[in-house]
């Protein structure tokens, strides 16, 4: 049994202008100790996936159908009490902007201690010990002193480390990270990626890493989901998806990245723009931008399974 099984998840937002289907039959599984990368451009539904999994959707958003099974438990049926037991203890989340996710008027030590105390009975000394240990594991030197700092006294990279410490402190089974390094500088991003890899390896925590940058997950993830307009259009082992994409959108996304070999040449660019979710074309949402599209694409392609790979496309790219 996989740690997390998401099956045909549909999330909708009922707005005045109509029903927006932000997630359309999203399915994936995540095994214990593995890293799943979810890649997509703005509006593809990657953050809505995280919020749906954490039951953090706010009206008018709601899960319309599908199931989320965590360690065999159907989370769709979980009560608010059950959710407060799970969140922060078994499933933790790291957001993009640590200034928004940390309480600005609470010392960071107190915030981390709260995360521990809500879920377990422990003495003051035990809790302090646990907080220090978590801060040390995310690379914060002199944790006993840092515990007394307020978030504004820390740099962006340090704040994100504190947010990660807050996520790992109860040794969760699953961490959901939504663009956690996007706001950080390259060298700090390098440090955090390195530390996350070490943490996942040493603790056996599963990690779901959401990003717009496909090159970021290449060396981090085991499995990769590529999202477009609310659907997972391709998934599989990360090396295979990046090395031999089957869906034309994945191919286009990779070819659009500037790199040394493309110097002096025009970059490949996918024509057009991501369609607004309120006015999706019928059938495959990528068809209007796709050079391989045909009349068949006016019907929504179902998932094709080929070994460890899955894709939604009537005209997949051949394997080399």
């Amino acid at each position: 049994m996989a740690l997390l099984e998401v099956d045909r998840l549909v999330t909708e937002f009922h707005t005045g202008a109509g029903v927006v289907r932000a997630l359309d039959n999203v399915s994936f599984t995540l095994e214990r100790g593995k890293v799943l990368g979810i890649v997509g451009e703005s509006g593809s539904g990657k953050s809505v996936t995280a919020f749906s999994l954490m039951n953090l959707l706010e009206a008018p958003g709601r899960i319309a159908s599908g199931s989320i099974r965590f360690k065999g438990e159907e989370l769709g049926a979980a009560s608010p009490t059950r959710w407060s037991q799970l969140r922060g203890d078994r499933i933790a989340m790291v957001f993009q902007d640590p200034m928004m996710s940390l309480n600005p008027v609470m010392r960071i030590g107190a915030q981390l201690a709260e995360t521990v105390a809500i879920h377990a009975r422990a003495s003051r000394a035990q809790i302090d010990e646990q907080v220090c240990s978590a801060l040390r594991r995310v690379g914060i030197a002199a944790p006993a002193e840092r515990m007394r700092a307020y978030p504004h006294e820390l740099s962006g990279g340090m704040r994100q480390r504190v947010a990660i410490a807050n996520a790992i402190i109860n040794a969760p089974d699953l961490i959901i990270a939504d663009e956690p390094t996007t706001a950080l500088d390259v060298t700090i991003q390098g440090q955090i990626l390195y530390e996350m890899k070490q943490l996942v390896r040493s603790s056996g925590t599963a990690l779901l890493w959401i990003t717009h940058d496909i090159s970021l997950v290449k060396d981090l993830a085991d499995h990769l989901c590529v999202m477009y307009a609310g659907r997972v259009i391709e998934q599989g082992p990360v090396d295979q998806v990046i090395g031999q994409p089957r869906h034309p959108y994945t191919r286009g996304l990779i070819d659009s990245l500037p790199h040394a070999a493309s110097r002096g040449k025009r970059l490949y660019s996918i024509p057009g723009a991501t369609p607004p979710l309120l006015a999706l074309p019928p059938g495959c949402a990528f068809a209007p931008r796709c050079s391989r599209a045909s009349a068949a694409c006016s019907v929504t392609p179902q998932v094709t399974v080929a070994g460890a790979r899955e894709f939604r496309c009537f005209h997949p790219l051949d394997r080399p």
Partner: protein, 329 residues
């Protein structure tokens, strides 16, 4: 050949506001301290040749945007000089600065939401007398076509456009004054990958068709490696390495450049598991003595702690500011 644009020891300092007590003490002559100063940009000397793309790379707070703003005439320099086509423009001159335009990072913030697109792109040209009011609609149509937008969009407002389209509008606005030099400050950083490629292609097309020269400021090494002819790397207000793009990416000399290149995620190489460079940018309020990078540098020597390394030429055209490189040579 003289460079199209050259900066000579260009420096920008910002003074910290003093508290009331400190100011009163200074007025009475009892306070000892002069107002503290931050060197946002410290003696930056760069030459950009006609038709060239110079990439300016660094992390937040390194001063790269401040250099761009001084060149575009949006900020006066504190010291040093700035020349464009042989003319000294250290004190911003309106006539010359029309030839230097700027494209900003965030097209959501750089376009006035209450101005129609045709107004946004022709306002400056009308103000400076390049076109009359009656010529403006035709000029707007021409500019929009130039950046790949349908001229019928001219009467729409910014909120009706996607991020990529807005950045095209911002580029059209910069082009409206017929610049020779464009400062692009993180101009593609806010865009999705597929749109980023479209806008980068547009920059390259315009370079060709308009003969533009660019200062391309970015933290994204892959983008700079693609678009720039030469690259300058900045750290805490100073240029630490300057070379043509191929040399800087294949043979980086400064340990900071090496760390930046090693830590940047990329698709086309399999990176070996490496331990990223430690530490963070020091505060510009309290910069380390000697080489600003020494607290993070794996090769720091005694000399690095006391003496600021000068930017020196190692290989022809390859400049770096590191004691290690130039002591060995």
């Amino acid at each position: 050949m003289t460079a199209m644009l050259s900066t000579n020891k260009l420096t920008k300092t910002f003074s910290l506001k003093q508290g009331t007590l400190a100011r009163a003490a200074a007025a009475l002559g009892v306070g000892g301290d002069a107002p503290r100063q931050v060197f946002a940009v410290n003696q930056v000397s760069l030459d950009v040749d006609q038709g060239e793309v110079l990439g300016l790379v660094g992390e937040s707070g390194c001063g790269k945007s401040t250099v761009g703003r001084m060149i575009a005439g949006l900020l006066p320099a504190s010291a040093g000089s700035l020349a464009f086509q042989g003319e000294d423009i250290t004190r911003p001159s309106v006539a010359t600065h029309l030839k230097i335009q700027m494209v900003f990072q965030n097209p959501y913030a750089s376009l006035n939401p209450r101005h129609r697109i045709d107004q946004a792109v022709t306002e400056a040209a009308q103000y400076h007398g390049l076109v009359s009011k009656s010529e403006a609609p035709a000029y707007a149509a021409q500019l929009l076509r130039q950046v790949g937008l349908d001229p019928s969009y001219a009467t729409r407002y910014p909120h009706q456009f996607s991020g990529g389209q807005r950045q095209r509008i911002a580029i059209a606005r910069a082009l409206s004054l017929k610049p020779r030099f464009v400062v692009c400050d993180e101009a593609v950083s806010a865009l999705d990958v597929s749109v980023q490629a479209q806008v980068l292609n547009l920059f390259m097309d315009l370079r060709e068709s308009q003969g533009l020269t660019y200062l391309f400021i970015s933290h994204n090494l892959a983008v700079v490696e693609y678009i720039a002819d030469r690259v300058a790397i900045m750290y805490l207000g100073r240029v630490v390495e300057l070379a043509d793009t191929r040399s800087i990416f294949s043979r980086p000399q400064h340990p900071y450049t090496q760390a930046l290149i090693a830590d940047a995620p990329r698709l086309d190489t399999k990176v070996a598991e490496h331990r990223p460079i430690q530490g963070e940018l020091p505060s510009p309020l309290d910069p380390p003595r000697g080489c600003a990078f020494h607290p993070r540098c794996p090769h720091a020597m005694e000399r690095c702690r006391s003496e600021v390394p000068a930017l020196q030429q190692g290989a022809p055209g390859h400049w770096s500011a590191c004691h290690l490189v130039h002591a060995a040579a």
